[in-house]
Structures are given as structure tokens and as C-alpha cells.
Symmetry: C2
Subunit: 335 residues, 2 copies
């Protein structure tokens, strides 16, 4: 059977079916942003991600320092998506012969900067040669009070669906960098045209996991009913919440927050900015649900957009345009 | 600067120098078999390892099920080497197009069998495509009582140096499989000549992390003063203990436990079995030190060999043959 036929989610389901949990300390295994493990009176959160050259990054325009930063950040984002805080990080590197010690230093520099900003300790490193390219495996251990852990499965009908920051910028940044790469390949003397689009490039190269959002939700006394980080695009991640919570969702197209630079770039490239937000991925913002009664409290926080609400499962997962008919949300497949 | 000039250990040192620890929960970071993290009243142990196709394994003779088993086991071994028990495992896979769903099933089957035997829960999986080959990143979370964690740094002069099981078999198994691969490549009709050497092949393809040794040490009330798992070969791993503990070591060549099949194979291949034990690696046995006063207690356990003793740093790390002059222990470099 071809892997593309069942996709990454299909593979995870296949695996999840076979798993037996043996240890009482395992509170939540496969199927959320991080595993949840009882540790003393608290909870540990464990997550892992692997970045492969040629698949997840292209070193012709991704500086190694940024790459190290991002490799750490995508894992921190998974921990925040459980309403916890990352604390320790371990990293494995597979390095081909074309890299030297200074390259590895740059990569670690970015990773350590990410750790510094998010108060995480780098506690283990493992390095080996690889036949081709660079592979980065990062795992992060986080922490959360047991009564504050937020799962994908807690969304209930009438809950509001909220998003931090704005979407689509990372994907437009990637398209822009790919365009300039082609220009450079055709004419190595051409200057890259990136001015005015710094926000897009930064969102792609150096995403910031949204610790601030978690801190301000806590300060406001808000514990979301469900949460996920937006790494695969809004559509895919809303569908994950729907599936794990056994609910539907109505998302209002005109409520989806899209940055101005993302709009401008989309127009310039003749691309649909909403598609970037729905399916682009890599935004590393947070998608969460809250009871309707907390609407005013979340509105006061600023930089959080209410984009729709949770409905009964039978009412579907729909994208509702201001004019015209609702369309079913669809996830992109295995990338 | 070329990575080979400083080696893997040099890279780890370079990294360790730059690290600042920020969280009070981080008890031990880089520099041991696993990181040690305070969690409630207990300790969590965190370790990670990456296996890359063409570097760590050759799929022409490594079955995927065995590979999954081994990928889990090498991490369990790191946790046992801290005197703890593995509890949860997360895995990241990078998979090229030549693999299908059934291949991934086999890999997971081996991993889950390892988890079953060592009472570990598989709590997270992440899968993505890769341009070439198979990459497996595994991280394991373990547990230990705070007063029982054993570090590489606790060896003291007069301590006895002990080894579980026997050494060299995994490396001889690898040599044998490589030999038969060449025979097969020259003549695909030739039958592989593996009979009588099942132990060597099993030690290489399907190593078993030594949980039994940890259990029996505990039952006997013995807490080692230092410990490490023998993954890089006895020489390299003794030197790690010496370095972290600030001591020397005298190892008696004729005390090094070497399996009969390993001796036989070495003779057949005109290879030195002691070299396989000293530098072959991948044995995943445990090397530990105990106070001299516990000699009788450890002798009673069986299947543990006393191979030497810890000395003052100035007296060096030496291999002492029954006849002839002592030689300095040397580690193999970056593999």
C-alpha cells in the first residue's frame, strides 16, 4: 500500500490502533500536539519533530542559524498548544561531509537563542554523519499543571473558535523566497526583491511560538476547551479539533486574520491569500476554543480573532463566505 | 574546521561550553547517557538517538522489524545506564518513496515489541517524506528515584570496574553480515554461511538493553558509583568514565568477557576478538563501577565480570596484558 494513499494522518491512526498503554503515568499518548505524562504531582509534556533537508528546508535561502531557531520553535509551539511551557530540549543531528564545525555552531546558535527566549535548557545533543544532507531531530519536554492541560478533544458545540496573530504569512514568505531563488538561478547578479516583505520572510524563516498568548490567556483566567498549533494550515487543524472532539465547525471566511503584507504579496503573485491561510501551514499560531460566555474576556486581550464557532458534528465543518454558499473544509494531504 | 578533526566528543564539548542552564528542574544536561530532570518528587530521564540509513544500518541485511526493535533498544539502554527505567517513547520517521505502508508497519512492529518487553509506552509518532533513505529519530523518557540516579562522574580510585554480559559479538556479527553481503553480491545464488553464529547476528541486529542487570543490582542493594552503556566500545566508554570522574582506570585484558562465538568467528576471519571488544561498539552492555567492599556481592550475581579497577588520574587509563607492557586505552573517533 502506498503511503500517499493513507497520508500522514492515516499512518498515525494505523499506529494508534495497535498501541497498548502500560504505564499508569501515561495520561495521553499519540493523537495530540504532545504526549502528557504524570510526573510527581505535575504533568510532563513530550513532543518531537524531525526536519529534513530538501523536504522541510532549502539551505540556498534558509540560514543555518534561522533553521536552528525554527527547529526548536516548532517543538515549543507543540508544548504551548497543550497550554504548557517548554523546559528542556534534546537534539540529534545527521550531518553530511559538506558541513564543517562552523556550520554546526551556527545551527546551535539559533537553537540556543530560541531556548534563551523561551527559557528552555538544551540538555542533550547527539551528532552523527549522514550520507546526504542535514537532518535535525528535536524533542522537547514541557510542564503543565494537571488541571490546566488542554487537549484537541475538548471542543463543545457553541464554543467560539479563536486564532492568535494572523495566518498565511509563512506560506507567502516561502513562495517569495522560492521565486527569488529562481530569479537568482537564472541571473546570479540580480538583487533579490524582498523589500517591504520582511514580515513574510521572518514568519517563514524564523517563526515565533506564541508563548505570549498562553501567558495572557492565563492572566485573564481563561483555559481553552481545546487547542492545537496551526502548523498544517487552518483547514487541516480545524478538522483535527473536529475529529478529536467529535464536533463540527463553522468558520467565517471574512473573519480569518490575514496580514496586510500577505494580502499585498498574494495580489502581486496572483495567488489567493485565503488559500495561504487555509492550507499554507507553518504559521505556528494557536487555534483554540472557549465557551461562548468568555467572549468579552478574550476580546479584551487583543490580537486574538474569533473566526467561527463549534457546532454539532452533523452540521459539518464548513467555511462560510460573506456572500455565497458554504464550502466543506478540506485538509491538504501528506507533505 | 573539519568535523573529523574534533570528532563527535569535541562537538559535544564545544556545545556544552556555551550552554547556560536556566530551569531549576534541570539536574544534569549534556554529558551523560541521559539528561536528568526533577519532576515532582522524582527524576525524569531524557535521551535521544537518530539512526540513518547507510550510516547506522544497511537494509540489505537488516530487517525492518529488527531495526525498529534496535532503534528503541539503544535508547532504553541509555536510560538503564542512569540506573533508571524507560517509560515513554516518541519516534520521528523520514521515509523515502521506496517504502510503503507495510514497511512502516514492520518497523513499528519491532519498536512495539521492544516497548512491550521493556514496559514502555509509545506515546508519539511523526512521519514525513525524505529525499533519500530512511531516518529514525527516537527519544525516550525514563524514571528514577532521585537518590538512585548514577552518573558517569562518580567513579573513585579503588572502585572495581564491572561489565555485564560479554563484548565484541555485535561487531563480529556486523563483519559477518558484511562478508555475506559481498558473497551474495558476487553470486546471488550462494547461500549465506551464518550457521553457528546466530548469537553474533542477534547481538548486532537485535541487541537487548540490559534491564535484568539493573533489576538484579537493585535486588542486591548495589548502587554503582558510576555507569555508562557500552555503545562505542569498551575503550571509548571506559575513557568517558575516566574523563567525567577525573580518574584513571586499569583494565586487565584477560578479564574482558568475550563470547565463544566471537572468538571462533574472529579466528575464522583472522581478526582480533579483543579489538572487537575494545573498539567494536554496539554491545549495549553496561559498564559500571562499585566500591571494592561490594566485590563479593557483585560476584554472587553471576554474568557480571570484574575487568579492572579505578586508579588516580595520574596513573592513566591502561590496558594491562597478562604478559607484556601496559598500553594506553585509545578511543575510536567519530563514526
Amino acid at each position: 500500500m502506498n503511503i500517499n494513499d493513507i497520508g500522514e494522518f492515516g499512518l498515525v491512526d494505523r499506529l494508534a490502533e495497535k498501541i497498548q498503554v502500560r504505564n499508569a503515568s501515561t495520561i495521553k499518548g499519540v493523537g495530540d500536539d504532545a504526549a502528557v505524562i504524570a510526573a510527581g504531582g505535575g504533568c510532563s509534556l513530550l513532543t518531537t519533530d524531525m526536519l529534513l533537508e530538501g523536504i522541510h528546508f532549502d539551505l540556498t535561502y534558509v540560514p543555518l542559524k534561522h533553521l536552528g531557531y525554527k527547529a526548536a520553535m516548532v517543538n515549543f509551539s507543540d508544548v504551548y498548544a497543550m497550554n504548557g511551557f517548554p523546559r528542556q530540549l534534546v537534539v540529534s543531528l545527521g550531518i553530511s561531509k559538506r558541513f564543517d564545525v562552523e556550520h554546526i555552531d551556527e545551527l546551535y546558535e539559533g537553537m540556543m537563542l530560541a531556548c534563551e527566549r523561551h527559557e528552555v535548557d538544551l540538555v542533550g545533543g547527539d551528532t552523527s554523519t549522514s550520507l546526504t544532507g542535514l537532518t535535525i531531530g528535536v524533542s522537547v519536554l514541557g510542564e503543565c499543571e494537571p488541571d490546566r492541560v488542554v487537549y484537541r478533544s475538548g471542543a463543545r458545540p457553541t464554543d467560539l473558535i479563536c486564532i492568535t496573530g494572523s495566518l498565511g504569512a509563512a506560506y507567502m514568505g516561502l513562495l517569495l523566497l522560492e521565486r527569488e531563488k529562481k530569479v537568482f538561478e537564472a541571473n546570479p547578479n540580480a538583487d533579490p526583491q524582498l523589500a517591504g516583505y520582511e514580515h513574510l520572510i521572518e514568519k517563514y524563516l524564523k517563526p515565533e511560538a506564541n508563548r505570549e498568548a498562553i501567558l495572557s490567556l492565563r492572566q485573564a483566567g481563561i483555559t481553552p476547551t481545546s487547542m492545537i498549533d496551526i502548523s498544517d494550515g487552518l483547514a487541516s487543524d480545524v478538522l483535527q479539533i473536529c475529529r478529536r472532539s467529535g464536533v463540527g465547525a463553522h468558520i467565517y471566511l471574512d473573519k480569518i486574520p490575514i496580514a496586510r503584507q500577505c494580502m499585498d504579496m498574494a495580489e502581486e503573485m496572483n495567488f489567493d491569500a485565503v488559500t495561504a491561510a487555509l492550507n499554507g501551514g507553518e504559521d505556528y499560531e494557536l487555534l483554540f476554543t472557549i465557551p461562548l460566555s468568555l467572549h468579552d474576556r478574550v476580546k479584551d486581550l487583543g490580537s486574538i480573532a474569533v473566526v467561527g464557532h463549534v457546532v454539532e458534528q452533523g452540521r459539518g465543518a464548513l467555511l462560510i463566505p460573506p456572500n455565497g454558499s458554504p464550502v466543506r473544509l478540506r485538509a491538504q494531504g501528506f507533505r
